[in-house]
Amino acid sequence: FYLTPPQVNSILKANEYSFKVPEFDGKNVSSVLGFDSNQLPANAPIEDRRSAATCLQTRGMLLGVFDGHAGCACAQAVSERLFYYIAVSLLPHETLLEIENAVESGRALLPILQWHKHPNDYFSKEASKLYFNSLRTYWQELIDLNSGETTDVREALINAFKRLDNDISLEAQVGDPNSFLNYLVLRVAFSGSTACVAHVDGVDLHVANTGDSRAMLGVQEEDGSWSAVNLSYDHNAQNEHEVERVKMEHPKSEEKSLVKQDRLLGLLMPFRAFGDVKFKWSIELQKRVVESGPDQLNDNEYTKFIPPNYHTPPYLTAEPEVIHHKLRPQDKFLVLATDGLWETMHRQDVARIVGEYLTGVHHQQPIAVGGYKVTLGQMHGLLTERRAKISSVFEDQNAATHLIRHAVGNNEFGTVDHERLSKMLSLPEELARMYRDDITIIVVQFNSHVIGAY
């Protein structure tokens, strides 16, 4: 059985979201024109999360993708909380004071973030009070620490990442009288999530990455062609520097057991992550928390399981690597995506497909007969399909959707094969994860005119 093209489209478009930065006086003064985002689940429920928000008390826009593992709790928490931590880290002392005073006196709070959310992107109501209290503690500390220096974005990002991970860990250790919340904070801490977050303010683009999601800049060359520039490093076994780092942080005796089968301690793919306290806490702490925790936690084989060769925790950190990039007019867009995309597509293809989509040049990659043995009949069939495809390309109103269509449906000629796309999307839940991963994509489009005017 096959899904018809309209069915395929309704699946692909279920989670798509677009945001256009509003214009003032007919002019767009922001370096960001807007963004398109989308996600396609393979896990049920999906373990990826995405966030986007505009900072209201400072300038700039925040966008991030979060790839959860061992459940979606941690990715969900990070997607709700991380941007607040970053925004707070960026706030000047006076603003922090103002906010604290407002809270203290019960006045209305200055809004910190304007979220750009798809209806499916939910925030946990139950935990909001808990999360808020943790955040308030953080800014109170920042007020106390007032260094008087202007906030460096890089430092703010690093601090926010570390602080949130620390709070996640603490909340789990402390627990909560509310049993639902108590279970929630434990699930958050015992599951994990990567994070790849971009902060765009004028021509300053910072990307903070923890884990194996990736940020990529789409650059249009003078001849009109597209190339890709990486703005993050994957934190996994393929990254020699990461392997080195992990080995440096632990005694030589553990060298052999640290990375096995390209996984941390033979278990975890990303080498940096939020949550995952099983790779951070001491064995004693883990046992204590699990034993005193709710029954659900106790019954869970995974949480009770202690990683082998677990001698000198922590093995895992949430500290991001931050890359700063000064945007140039030729930098047309930024793609943030979880590894579900990068496993299936080369970044060069991503740059081209998105670039051509955004510039409206729907040139598909030209077919070259080259060394292939192609008959007239085969070519005819291929061209007929491509013509059908072109019409589907125009159906996509969203660059991220367009990219997902390619990621899932591309054939060996680099064109979307409807049959393949239909098969991939109609896989039963239990099989889907074997053929593909959750894919979450945000495509941020830059305003070259504004950037060029800087």
């Binding site: 030209p366 070259a368 007969v369 192609v374 008959t375 007239l376 009949g377 070519m379 061209l383 013509r387």
Partner: protein
């Protein structure tokens, strides 16, 4: 794959031929067997410099050297035959709708056939024949028309059934065909090798060939070519020939004085396949499927198939850029529809393996005809380019005509349809060209029906009345960039849309034009004739008169205020222009000529008028709006508007006077109408145009005035046997041959151009005679309409072709005009055509293979001249009894 392909098309002969001209040009360079022999130095001067080593350049060099000119240098920026010529599909096809193109292709075919024997260079010539397929009845009609004209030229050609087509080519799917045309002598060649063979022969005849030499610009002084600047130095020359193909436009614009060569390149695609399992025979005919927009030829046991798609891709609009020809992308998606058409036509080739999709830019021109001839602004600057992808078919013939043109001053055939001077600077805008060629390229295979108008590049030149007329239902055609009204669609009357109105039969505007004609006959009509070319020639003394007396055949020394119809003849007595000249004063003349004469006539006069600052030639076309008031009541309208008596006693025919019309003064009124009907043409300074038009229309109301268009004018002039230059008259037709001796003053007391020939013809008779034919058994509603170019048969033998035709609403018959020759029955030699010869024959006109009886007349029906209406009615009934 590209490398292999290039090797295959321009194969080893190239190398074999190469040393030959090296040796010819320099005997010291025998040892130069290395890949890059040091280039020979350029000569400091030469009689002729040809730029471009493709099929055109080498063909011109070949023919010039054949005609005995030796001092010729051919420059090629890259390698010989390495541009469009190399990529050309190599199909020599004679099936061309335009007669001169047909002649060129026919000559090319004969030339290529013997070229290998002549030069020793293998040209790959193979007489395969070609089959043009018709999927519709209309297509079949157009093929039949071509077949008729091929047959009378002695070129074998047959209309065949689909089954016969299948026998000729076993791979064709014939299920959707209604018929086909088979031209057995069409051929295939390797175009690059043909070009190399021509170069080899030329170089043996003394032509110097220099490759890797780029012409930067041509120097022109005092309107004459003086030399050529190249990247390897300067060559002084008398003649320059621009054969730069798709770069011809740019080269024309590179000098200080631009030469406008309106052409623009489009990408052109064809695919090559590997051989079939059982390789296709190399003698298998070429298949042309215009309804599928494709052609298919056998190629190395496989096929070569390309076409002319609906959505062409123009390129190099901004001039040459980094894209080298070789780097052009194959675009399969673009080729998709053509591939579908190919597989539909030949399902059997589905399993054939693709070798390559070749992208080869071709240059196209604004009217789908090639460009040749001399620049109107620079004497000695010749052009041969813009082949509309038929370069190999035209190459031989075009080169021959251009060589004749350079050597003799004129070619041996009428090439006006191809003359560079049919264009002006107005067709030279890149935007115009880009848009127009996008229309022209698909037209290559579109159905060509009578009275077709281009849709792009319109509304460029317009009359000040354009909007007024448009609002009244005007439908427009374009001539030389000028919008002219075809007819006015009355309110509430809808015509078919463009695509559906295409027909070879009675058109949908038949009744509309009929009523316009009726109004011209019975009341009065207004036709905006502003597009006509208008010159003023004046001098301080008698220079103007003297010069004009020499350049024109009629006597212009007439009283002031008289209008003279006269030909502007060449040395051979042929019409270079046919015009009306009004003597405005003793020393100034006002000259009206056809619209497309603007460039040609200007150049002709400029080159022949004495270089005298006291003699002024001015183009005033843009200064005047011309309103033609046609009909018996024109007199009344005009006299009421001007308070002046306009009757024949006061304002005789062929008279010109400046007068006031309405409030406007200084209107030149001439008692001519270009139709033979009574009436006037008003030449109105443009700022008064709207006023005068309004006055005329208001005043005319009570006389039943209405607007009319050119189709009405055409019908009127053809039924009156009025010849039009460019349609009926050309540089090879003398006044004696078209019954216009009365417009020639052989004894005007001074010599004039063409006089000798005319005297000779007067004495010895003419070899062709302009004749009017009235179709007898032709059913206007049911039968195919004549157009022009239909063969004329006298007593069953071919005697000539028609040049124009129209339905006469007065005679209620079709009228064709054309030339009758007298070919000796045995030798085919041309004999003198006498009045008796014309009158004593039984005539038939061949319309797409169907012959209709026709009555020949050498003089118009006097009955049609309304002045003598009463008497004529008798004559007309007499005609009907005949």
């Amino acid at each position: 794959a590209a490398g292999m392909f290039l090797r295959l098309l321009s194969d080893v002969q190239w190398r074999a031929a190469h040393p030959k001209w090296r040796r010819m040009t320099s005997s010291q360079r025998r040892t130069s067997t290395t890949a890059e022999p040091p280039p020979l130095s350029l000569p400091a001067q030469a009689q002729v410099v040809i730029c471009g080593g493709g099929i055109m350049g080498t063909s011109v060099a070949y023919h010039l050297s054949k005609m005995g000119w030796k001092d010729i240098v051919l420059l090629e920026q890259g390698r010989l035959a390495a541009g469009t010529t190399r990529f050309c599909a190599g199909i020599v096809s004679t099936a061309r709708p335009v007669s001169i193109e047909l002649k060129m292709a026919h000559y090319s075919n004969k030339l290529y056939q013997q070229l290998e024997q002549e030069t020793g260079v293998q040209t790959g010539y193979m007489k395969t024949g070609s089959i043009s397929l018709a999927q519709t009845q209309d297509r079949l009609i157009s093929l039949k028309r071509i077949a008729s004209s091929l047959n009378v030229m002695g070129i074998p050609c047959e209309i065949i059934s689909p089954k016969k087509a299948l026998q000729l080519h076993p791979l064709i799917n014939i299920h959707d065909l209604v018929g086909a045309m088979y031209v057995p002598e069409d051929a295939l060649v390797s175009s690059a090798n043909v070009s190399l063979a021509l170069a080899t022969a030329a170089s043996r005849n003394g032509v110097q060939i220099h490759e890797r030499t780029t012409v930067s610009h041509v120097t022109i002084q005092k309107g004459r070519v003086t030399g050529v600047e190249t990247d390897r130095g300067r060559i002084q020359c008398e003649y320059f020939v621009n054969c730069a193909g798709q770069w011809a436009y740019e080269l024309g614009h590179s000098g200080e004085e631009p030469v406008h060569i309106p052409l623009h390149a489009c990408e052109h695609f064809y695919l090559l396949t590997h051989p079939l399992q059982e390789p296709l025979s190399s003698s298998l005919p070429t298949v042309i499927d215009p309804d599928g927009r494709i052609y298919i030829r056998n190629w190395q046991g496989g096929i070569l198939s390309g076409g002319f798609e609906k959505n062409p891709k123009p390129l190099f609009t901004e001039g040459r850029n980094q894209l080298e020809i070789q780097n052009l992308q194959e675009d399969w998606d673009h080729f998709g529809p053509l591939l579908s058409a190919l597989l539909r036509r030949m399902p059997g080739v589905e399993a054939l393996q693709i070798m390559q999709l070749v992208n080869c830019p071709e240059s196209f021109t604004p009217d789908m005809r090639c460009i040749m001839g001399e620049s109107p602004t620079a004497q000695g600057y010749f052009v041969l380019a813009g082949m509309n992808s038929a370069g190999i078919s035209y190459g031989g013939g075009a080169g021959k005509y251009l060589a004749e043109w350079i050597v003799n001053g004129y070619p041996s055939e009428n090439v006006w349809p191809l003359d560079l001077k049919r264009f002006g600077t107005l067709q030279s805008s890149r935007t115009f060209l880009r848009h127009r060629v996008m229309e022209v390229m698909p037209l290559m295979y579109d159905l060509k029906v009578p009275r077709w108008d281009f849709q792009t590049g319109r509304q460029l030149r317009t009359s000040p009345l354009y909007d007024r007329l448009d609002a009244q239902g005007a439908r427009w055609m374009e001539k030389h960039g000028f919008e002219r009204v075809k007819y006015f669609v009355p309110p509430g009357n809808d015509l078919l849309d463009l695509d559906h109105s295409k027909t070879f039969y009675k058109p949908d505007w038949f009744d509309i034009v009929g009523s316009e004609v009726k109004c011209c006959k019975e009341a009065v009509s207004v036709i905006d004739m502003s597009s006509f070319t208008k010159f003023e020639i004046s001098s301080t003394g008698d220079q103007a008169l003297e010069s004009l007396q020499y350049l024109f055949s009629n006597d212009l020394d007439v009283p002031v205020g008289h209008v003279v119809h006269t030909g502007m003849l060449n040395e051979k007595g042929g019409y270079e222009n046919d015009c009306s000249i009004a003597r405005l004063s003793k020393r100034s003349f006002f000259m009206i000529s056809p619209t497309d004469q603007q460039v040609h006539c200007w150049a002709w006069l400029k080159n022949r008028l004495p270089d005298d600052s006291n003699l002024v030639l001015e183009d005033v076309t843009w200064k005047y709006t011309a309103l033609n008031l046609i009909g018996p009541r024109a007199v009344d309208v005009l006299s009421e508007l001007s308070y002046a008596p306009m009757t024949a006693e006061h304002f005789p025919s062929l008279f010109c006077k400046e007068m006031s019309v309405g409030y406007a003064n200084g209107i030149r009124v001439m008692s001519i109408t270009h139709t033979g009907e009574p009436g006037f043409v008003l030449y109105i300074p443009i700022e008064y145009a709207l006023h005068v038009y309004n006055e005329v229309m208001n005043m005319g109301q009570k006389y039943g005035i209405r607007n009319a268009g050119y189709y009405a004018l055409r019908s009127l002039r053809i039924e009156k046997f009025f010849a039009f230059w460019g349609q009926d008259l050309d540089a090879f037709t003398t006044p004696m041959e078209c019954g216009r001796e009365f417009q020639v003053k052989l004894d005007k007391g001074m010599e004039f151009l063409g006089q000798e020939v005319l005297l000779e013809q007067k004495q010895n008779g003419v070899y062709k005679r302009f004749t009017m034919f009235i179709l007898e058994d032709h059913d206007t509603d049911m039968d195919l309409w004549p157009w022009w170019g239909e063969p004329i048969f006298r007593n069953g033998r071919y005697v000539g072709k028609t040049t124009s035709s129209a339905y006469s609403y007065t005679l209620e018959r079709h009228v064709c005009l054309g030339f009758v020759h007298h070919f000796d029955e045995k030798t085919g030699e041309e004999l003198v055509v006498t009045t008796d010869f014309i009158n004593q024959g039984e005539y038939e006109i061949d319309i797409a293979g169907q012959r209709f009886q026709a009555k020949a007349k050498l003089y118009p029906f006097s009955s049609l001249f309304t002045q003598r209406r009463r008497k004529d009615e008798v004559e007309l009934s007499g005609y009907q009894r005949e």
